[in-house]
Amino acid sequence: MRLSPDDMIFWQNGFLKLNATIVFTWLLMLVLAVGSKLITRKLSTDLKRTRWQNLLEIVVTGIGKQIEEVGLRNPEKYLGFLGTLFLFVATATLCAVIPGYEPPTGSLSTTAALALCVFVAVPLYGIESQGMRGYLRSYVEPTFVMLPFNIIGEVSRTLALAVRLFGNMMSGAMIIGILLAITPFVFPVVMTALGLLTGMVQAYIFSILAAVYIAAATRTIKPRPAA
């Protein structure tokens, strides 16, 4: 039984290899980029616009609103990173309805990569927002004693991000596989639909958590000046 699309290797040359995770990721990237390009090729700034443009505008402004609700003041700055996280995970899940497709998010390597990106992005945004000292000081808040715990928290939440997404995606694919073996008709369809829902929820959770981490990193120092 294959747990991860990483195991499906098309080509390998020593350390370098081309597995299903990377290939499907490329396909998704292609679909997303070409789709966006096609739709945004003829954008109208008028009041009248195409349905596709409307859809994209709703998606983009919706993501921006969510980021703002989390507490980030300038959503356009984080839209590229957080929006892409959501769109990638969501598209990867939605494409699960295509037969033969393996969601790249079902690979722990992919989720770990995404979690690592968040792990790197959070301090970057934090330092950009408060400066190096300000950001580093947040690790010794409220007291110096908390430093190790803060560091552990940082690492563990990254791990949790990766494992949560992977577990959910993998379990979805796994359940469908098992159900197909037990009850090949009707029931797998229901479970696939449920899998789509869980995928969307996970995409939302992943990007919202990333937003929350970034928000926490960029505004930790905020209450201090008043004190």
């Binding site: 747990l3 991860s4 990483d6 350390f15 370098l16 290899k17 597995n19 995770t21 990377i22 990721t25 490329w26 998704l28 990237m29 997303l32 980029a33 966006s36 390009k37 945004t40 954008l43 109208s44 700034t45 008028d46 009041l47 616009r49 443009q53 994209l56 505008e57 983009v60 402004t61 356009e76 839209l79 590229g80 990173f81 929006g83 892409t84 769109l87 990638f88 790249p104 690979s107 722990l108 390597s109 992919t110 770990a112 990569a113 995404l114 690592l116 990106c117 992977f166």
Partner: protein
Amino acid sequence: MLIDWFTVGAQALNFLILVWLMKRFLYKPILHAIDEREKRIALALADADAKKGEALKERDEFRHRNRAFDEQRAALLSQAMIDAKAERQRLIEEARKAADASGTKRQEALTRDAHNLNQSIIRRTQQEVFAIARKALTDLASASLEERLRGVFTRRLREMDGVAKERLAEALKTSSSPALLRSAFELPAEQRAALQAALNETFSAQIDVRFETAPEVISGIELTTNGQKVAWSIADYLASLEKAVAELVMEQGKSEPSHEIEAEPKSVVNLR
């Protein structure tokens, strides 16, 4: 092993590339389009606001002008009414004056006509009276009217009372010019001689007399000297006739043409 570190690295790189692609192809154009639209809407709204303000201003101005126009119109109307009233008064006055003038003119014309008629009637009457008298006298006593007139005049002279006679005699004597004897008709030579004789006899003196014919002398014969006058007159008769004729004319003036006049001609030739 669930984690393949090469795949992790590749996926991280892939993800970063995807972030760049999305930024490049999705977020930027879409956000740009949204911003542009918002700008356009804001511009349109600002434009609409400006236009609204302008429209309000224009409306106020229009109302103001309308009010001014109404006031002006009302003023003009009232002025026109006053003028029309004045003009009406003037026209009525003019018409009244014209009516008065024409009435006066008509009255004058009537009076003149009446006067003319009177004159002609008087002349005609005189002629008729004399003609009738002449004929009657000729028929009745084979005496001419001239003769009778001379007779009447002579008798008048003779029957004058003392005071009048003395005054007349005095006037005749003191007069430097000859006494004037005027008659309505040409007196024949024997009549003149008779009259001369009668005068001489009455005043017991040679009286210088100058004979003259004057148709306007109604009395027939009159003697004038130095402010004194002796005459035989049918003036009363004529005055009565004149009155009757005047009444007739007045009746005609009142557009009642058929009115018989009952003139009672005084056929009596009276002496004054």
